[in-house]
Symmetry: C2
Subunit: 408 residues, 2 copies
Amino acid sequence: MTAAARERTVEADGPRVAGGGVDSEVRCARAALLRVAEPPAPAVLRLIDRRGPVDAWQRIRAGAVDDDVLSATAARLAGRSAGELGDLVAADLASAAAVGARLVVPEDPEWPAAAVSALRTRGPRAAGQRADPVALWVRGGSLSALPSDGITVVGSRASTPYGQRLATDLGHRVAAAGLTVVSGAAFGIDAAAHRGALAAAVPGTATVAVLACGIDQAYPVAHRELIEAVAAAGAVVSEYPPGTRPARHRFLVRNRLIAALGAGTVVVEAGRRSGTLSTACEAAELHRLVMALPGPVTSALSVGCHRLIADGAALLVTGADDVLSLLRPDRSAAQDGLWSIDEDRPTDGLDPEALRVYDALDPRRARTVADVAEDSGVPAPAVLSALGLLEVRALAARHGGGTWRRAG
Amino acid sequence: MTAAARERTVEADGPRVAGGGVDSEVRCARAALLRVAEPPAPAVLRLIDRRGPVDAWQRIRAGAVDDDVLSATAARLAGRSAGELGDLVAADLASAAAVGARLVVPEDPEWPAAAVSALRTRGPRAAGQRADPVALWVRGGSLSALPSDGITVVGSRASTPYGQRLATDLGHRVAAAGLTVVSGAAFGIDAAAHRGALAAAVPGTATVAVLACGIDQAYPVAHRELIEAVAAAGAVVSEYPPGTRPARHRFLVRNRLIAALGAGTVVVEAGRRSGTLSTACEAAELHRLVMALPGPVTSALSVGCHRLIADGAALLVTGADDVLSLLRPDRSAAQDGLWSIDEDRPTDGLDPEALRVYDALDPRRARTVADVAEDSGVPAPAVLSALGLLEVRALAARHGGGTWRRAG
């Protein structure tokens, strides 16, 4: 490819080409691979590892590949000529550029390598099958600070006002703490988390939305404005070629990216079969911290959260403080132990005998030491010393004839 | 003591003497020990182990004991003569008999040995200090089936309608399952649990109330009728001599018995500092299963429950089903795994490729196999076999010209 030709192609990438240093042949090859291979495409990824993206794409285009790669790409190659395929890729780059999106590739400095590296070797449920993206279409800021600065917030679309309030507050607090809220732009909890983060109006990447459709699509349509706002204050991400329709399996595939881009995943509300549970499961597979907010046991939208916690698949958190203290111990207030007693009762810190004496005193009627000893079961001498202690703390008052009354 | 004398003393024990086989001298000695030693009284228990209750009481009465026993009993011996002490004990037995209560002693067949044995050697927080009762005043049925058939239900006095509904339902379901609800007769969760159990109207011991005052006292006074009903359908228990006033330290001491009498303890609602947490802590010390019901994170009355769960001190349960499945696996329905999918969606069980093909079909417009292959990324031959499968499950319908539409 001549320098002039490369120049043209780079222009075709649109005004916001990331890492211009990357050979546009590489960028075009990865755009083409995203076009022909439905993610996740482990066979294609292995071929890229062996041959590099440009040679891998040439071999796929020529049909000179093993069956596993062939079956992952044949449907969309569909006997198209090299020219037709080139046009498709140019059209994808143009459609993306038209909405201010760029193709971020692993060769770019802004590639979120740390986030997606976990997707190369997932846990037992994913049978270790790698599922890192071939490239990512991105609108907005860089993802390179993820996952260390990201917190994934997910939940049901059919959320309750309770869940929406918690998600909004959580998104707001997380963004205000300088971290990035990662979610999916869906109705319900996703939208509430994004909106809370946007409301924080902080510099930097407040929130990231990962789509299950093309970067040029708005799904749900009603969230077109929300998605625009997320692109402006953070980033919108998709691994699907422009024009791709959302489909159920794509939401499940997309969820692994949502889980990978956060250091931890918080499930705010989830029904018994919520797709949200798949994100929580992916997060666990990727060794991310999984957290869940409880709710009323009478709420169907809390069943999934309660099961995650009960089964030890998620830690119980009650809000942003818990989440931040788990993921950012330095940024959160120290927590006192479960059985610790805060010093906000007058009798706090009294030894058991003194407490027994205090309990035996009557606020209304002065009692003799003998009566107090009898009632408390504390020997008279010990009662006297306890009364002295209580008097100092203004919890007991002397009366005539060596009698005492409860004070304080 | 002559048989005639013993006969008289047995009569003095009142009409409902338990285990008449037990020498009433033993029963009187233990009644006396309860009268003079505020529980828990480890030193007195050790003396009883060494000398037996009758000799132990005689030595204490004579002041011929070590300092630790002396300081635990001196306050109430208070220079009383043997006759005065004997009158006190006779009065206790008479007061108890007047309310239909009996003194159950370890020598009785009905003594809940299994329940209190855990109190002989408690965990690290209790410094292993033994705290088993010297004897128990009991109204109503036997406690001998506890703790194996008992479930302790506790919670805050200042409970919410949410917590009260859960406690009532839990108490009802536990009693209906033939188990015994153990609680404390307090306002709020305790009362709701007892009432739920009473409403089950089952034979046997529906519910047990452990009091922090004398067996002849009703505390709170407003619960006099509730306590009567518990005595009639179950049992009311106290280790305090008749006439003893409730005192805060006695509630804490009483809580160890509530925890010991159940195989597990369920915390329904608890504020950040609820005394209920001491019962949960005791239950853990006694190696009982500790469970907690979550609630709205916005509710101050759920803070204690959430902390117990978050700190791993309690298992999250969402109701009677969870509690029974944990404590009575045989009596509860099998639970499906967290990620299990119930077969109640037409597409359940479809392999990923078939699901991708199904998603690519349009309910309104018939599509060609080529279009479906392009859209789903599944090769045409695989699309055809998937369509066959979908057709069998009535999820796809053939149309003219080899086109297909989504059905079902």
